[in-house]
């Protein structure tokens, strides 16, 4: 049974319930599912956390993930990473879990909806000035928009908007197109080939989650100090 028809480009179009302007579609439902899974696993894993020398496997697993996130962040900010761990970690875990659960039949990744990716990118769009201002103050942050002179102000603003748009479309495009490709291949090729495509899809999903999180961090890091801006832009260009 297909939940999202092949000609429907987004799971947003599958509306389950509506009342006035409030709509409940498949995207929101699966978002809640992913959230529930993540929170449940988190609760399960951290309920018996110990700061002793001997810890459980679960705790080791989580600590490895958090350590990697923390390491990546501190590599970019060169400063305390703990402030950014919740935002970047949540982005990564949410996107990664959504993308991996695609292998479960009947599951539609919320990230294959442009509304979700736009919402996530908007959060990053807001987080960049938030962290920048809270670290350096409003004036210092705004001054960065007029560097090297005021002519560059519109380009800076356009840059901010376009990279948010890029974040949105990159994730949406990858996940949505993958689902469509698998759907089409299922119709025209034997069983084995779509399985390979699914495996590839898992890889793409994890990589996209990593890219989204890293880019978010790069953007935030670029707002934190002028010194690190060049470094951050270099990262952006390389990725683009």
């Amino acid at each position: 049974m297909e939940i999202v028809a092949l000609n429907q480009i987004s799971p947003d179009q599958v509306i389950l319930w509506t009342w006035k302007f409030i709509t409940l579609n498949v995207t929101i439902l699966y978002t809640w599912l992913v959230m529930a899974i993540l929170v449940f696993i988190s609760w399960l894993a951290t309920r018996n956390l110990s700061s002793e020398m001997n810890v459980s496997r679960w705790q080791h697993f989580l600590e490895v993930i958090i350590s990697v996130v923390r390491g990546e962040i501190s590599e970019m900010t060169k400063k305390g990473a703990d402030n950014f761990v919740p935002l970047i970690g949540t982005l990564f875990l949410f996107i990664c879990t959504s993308n991996i659960l695609v292998i479960v039949p009947g599951f539609i990744a919320p990230t294959s909806s442009i509304t979700t990716t736009a919402a996530l990118a908007s959060c990053v769009f807001i987080a960049v000035p938030y962290y920048g201002i809270s670290r350096n103050g409003v004036l210092h942050y705004l001054k960065e928009y007029f560097q090297p002179n005021f002519i560059f102000f519109p380009f800076h603003v356009m840059g901010e908007i376009s990279r948010t748009l890029a974040l949105t479309v990159r994730l949406f495009g990858n996940i949505m197109s993958h689902e469509k490709v698998v759907g089409i291949l299922l119709a025209v090729t034997p069983l084995l080939f779509p399985i390979i495509m699914q495996a590839l899809g898992l890889l793409i999903g994890v990589i996209q989650a990593y890219i989204f999180a890293i880019l978010s961090m790069v953007y935030i890091a670029s707002a934190l100090s002028a010194d690190e801006e060049g470094h951050a832009h270099a990262h952006t260009k390389k990725e683009g």
Partner: protein, 256 residues
């Protein structure tokens, strides 16, 4: 591309909610646990360092004490050796003294035995000489030896010096006029008269005479007055003979 703005807002809310929940249930707790553990590990390292330091100090102290103990042992050993040496010398000295003592006692005993032997020898020699002389006198001169002894005794009384006589007279007066004559044989009446005559001539008249037979007085006569004595006996000759004999024997013993 259609974007449902309600869904967009709902997704932002969902994301923020998830962020809050994960921060509360996952990141906060894990970061805290990790930090706690790091702090704990650091504390353990610090503790280990402190213990290590302490152990090193203890080892140093132990080594120092060991050295001290060794020094002390050496010192005590030296002292003990010295004390033992002193004690050995003392003991040796004591043993030497003891040996000297034993030797002296032994020599003393030997001397006494020698003396006893010579005393015995003297007595036997005297007895033998007496018998021989007596037999010789009686054989040769046909005269009674005892009468010859009395004669000789009387002669000696007659030839006494005046000083000695004065002493004897004084002694006789102090002793109440009693004079004792001791001899190895019985003195006959004639001989007694001869003696009394000589006494009255030389010493004192009317003395009370007492005659005793005493075998110890070897072949002779003794006149005893209150501590003084006039005698003639073979003893003198025999003593000379014994002395000569002793000297000869000792010379022989030393030569050996």
């Amino acid at each position: 591309m259609h974007i449902d703005w309600f869904v967009f807002a709902a997704q932002i809310f969902n994301f923020l909610l998830l962020m809050y929940l994960l921060k509360r249930f996952l990141f906060g707790r894990i970061l805290k646990a990790m930090d706690d553990r790091e702090a704990k590990i650091a504390a353990r390292f610090a503790e280990a360092d402190a213990l290590n330091e302490k152990a090193r100090e203890a080892a140093d102290l132990y080594e120092k004490r060991n050295l001290q103990v060794n020094e002390k042992i050496e010192q005590m050993l030296n002292e003990a050796t010295l004390a033992a040496e002193n004690r050995r010398k003392e003991l040796m000295e004591q043993v030497r003294t003891d040996v000297e003592h034993v030797k002296a006692r032994w020599q003393d005993m030997l001397k006494r035995e020698q003396e006893a032997f010579f005393f015995d020898l003297r007595r036997r020699a005297a007895g033998s000489l007496y018998a021989t002389a007596r037999k010789a006198l009686s054989d040769l001169a046909d005269a009674d030896l005892e009468s010859r002894i009395i004669d000789e005794f009387v002669k000696r009384l007659g030839s006494l010096e005046e000083e000695k006589l004065a002493q004897i007279r004084k002694a006789v007066a102090a002793g109440g006029g009693r004079i004792a004559v001791q001899s190895a044989f019985e003195i006959s009446a004639a001989q007694r008269t001869q003696i009394e005559k000589a006494v009255s001539e030389q010493i004192v008249r009317d003395a009370t005479m007492r005659y005793l037979v005493e075998p110890d007085v070897v072949s002779g006569v003794e006149l005893r007055v209150n501590g003084h004595k006039i005698a003639w006996s073979l003893n003198e000759y025999l003593e000379t003979l014994v002395e000569n004999l002793t000297e000869t024997l000792q010379r022989e013993a030393h030569a050996a």
